[in-house]
């Protein structure tokens, strides 16, 4: 470990080591972020994109259409 890493903090009120630390707040925030990502993705893909009128289609649809 290089000497330049911070060793102590002036306004630190307690020392929390790796074993005793559970980042529960981070887990909550990141869970909320996950939900936002999923919902926005679904909205963007299925509403904004697929609902955006004519779209470039391939031969696949033609086959289905004729069948």
């Amino acid at each position: 470990m290089a000497s330049a890493t911070e060793q102590s903090e002036t306004d630190q009120v307690r020392e929390i080591g790796h074993e005793e630390y559970d980042p529960i707040g981070t887990a909550i925030l990141i869970g909320i972020y996950f939900l936002i990502l999923v919902l926005l993705w679904l909205f963007m893909y299925f509403v904004e994109f697929l609902g955006n009128g004519p779209t470039v289609v391939g031969a696949l649809l033609t086959v289905v259409g004729l069948a």
Partner: protein, 263 residues
């Protein structure tokens, strides 16, 4: 490696997210059948565009059934053609190439959007179900006039669409008593045969002719006009085939005023 349980869970969630995104895109490709612009249409020498079988003559072409092709050349700073009309309920394949720099062919408010790179041909097939009017714009910087580059795509109701073209050849002036004719050429750009009626109205007179044209064919029509019945004076005429109209004016003059000019 010492990874916290929460972080392991997040790693799993992140992977689920990534796989989910890829799955959604894959669904779009196989479900609604969205295809990407690819290399199917091949390359082209931009200097030879005018002689190219596809781009020598740009515009809408009927392939048969509800299938159409539209050939477009993009250049600084316009599209040729700048206005495109296709019927509703059609399946249209656009072929676009560039004469100079990179452009785009972007139909505003839709998912029809392609880069147009010189040397390459962009091909995209689109189904137009409903009538509507869309702007076309270039969204790739192509020089100082880039923002003026635009076009218009109109999807018309199916029964209002045809690829019929009408042109006429008629004298401007005729001597009273002489026989004269108004000639018309009707061409049918559709692959299907066309059966319709051509109507010429001149003065109080009306002539009708039944027209039958094969797919990709054309017909010459000749209307003999009775100048005696018209009498001397200016006579406006209108030739109508379906929704297409051509009109002009025929002057019937007395024998001393002039000859039968046809210009």
């Amino acid at each position: 490696m010492n990874i916290h349980t929460y972080e392991k869970a997040w790693l799993v969630a992140a992977m689920v997210l990534i796989v989910g995104f890829i799955a959604t895109i894959t669904y779009g490709a196989v479900g609604p059948g969205i295809a990407m612009i690819d290399d199917d249409a091949g390359s082209i020498d931009p200097n030879e565009i005018s002689d190219h079988e596809r781009f020598g003559e740009t515009g809408v072409e009927h392939l048969g059934g509800n299938e159409y092709e539209v050939n477009v050349v993009a250049q600084a700073w316009s599209y040729s053609p700048s206005e495109i009309e296709v019927p509703a309920g059609s399946e249209v394949t656009f072929y676009v190439t560039s004469r100079d720099v990179t452009h785009s062919f972007t139909v505003v408010g839709t998912n029809v959007n392609t880069m147009v790179v010189p040397g390459q041909i962009s091909e995209m097939t689109v189904q137009f179900d409903e009538p509507g009017e869309y702007g076309i714009l270039c969204n790739e910087y192509c020089g100082e006039g880039h923002h003026t580059m635009e076009g218009l795509l109109t999807v018309v109701p199916e029964d209002e669409f045809d690829l019929t073209e009408l042109s006429t050849d008629a004298p401007r002036e005729v001597e009273a008593g002489n026989e004269t004719t108004i000639n018309a050429t009707v061409s049918n750009g559709m692959q299907d045969g066309l059966e319709t009626t051509a109507t010429l109205e001149i003065g109080e007179q009306q002539y009708e002719r039944d027209v039958t044209i094969d797919g990709e064919g054309s017909a010459e029509l000749t209307f003999d006009v009775d100048t005696d019945a018209l009498g001397e004076g200016e006579h406006d005429w209108t030739l109508t085939v379906d929704d297409h109209e051509e009109s002009g004016t025929l002057s019937v003059v007395s024998g001393t005023d002039g000859g039968d000019t046809n210009e």
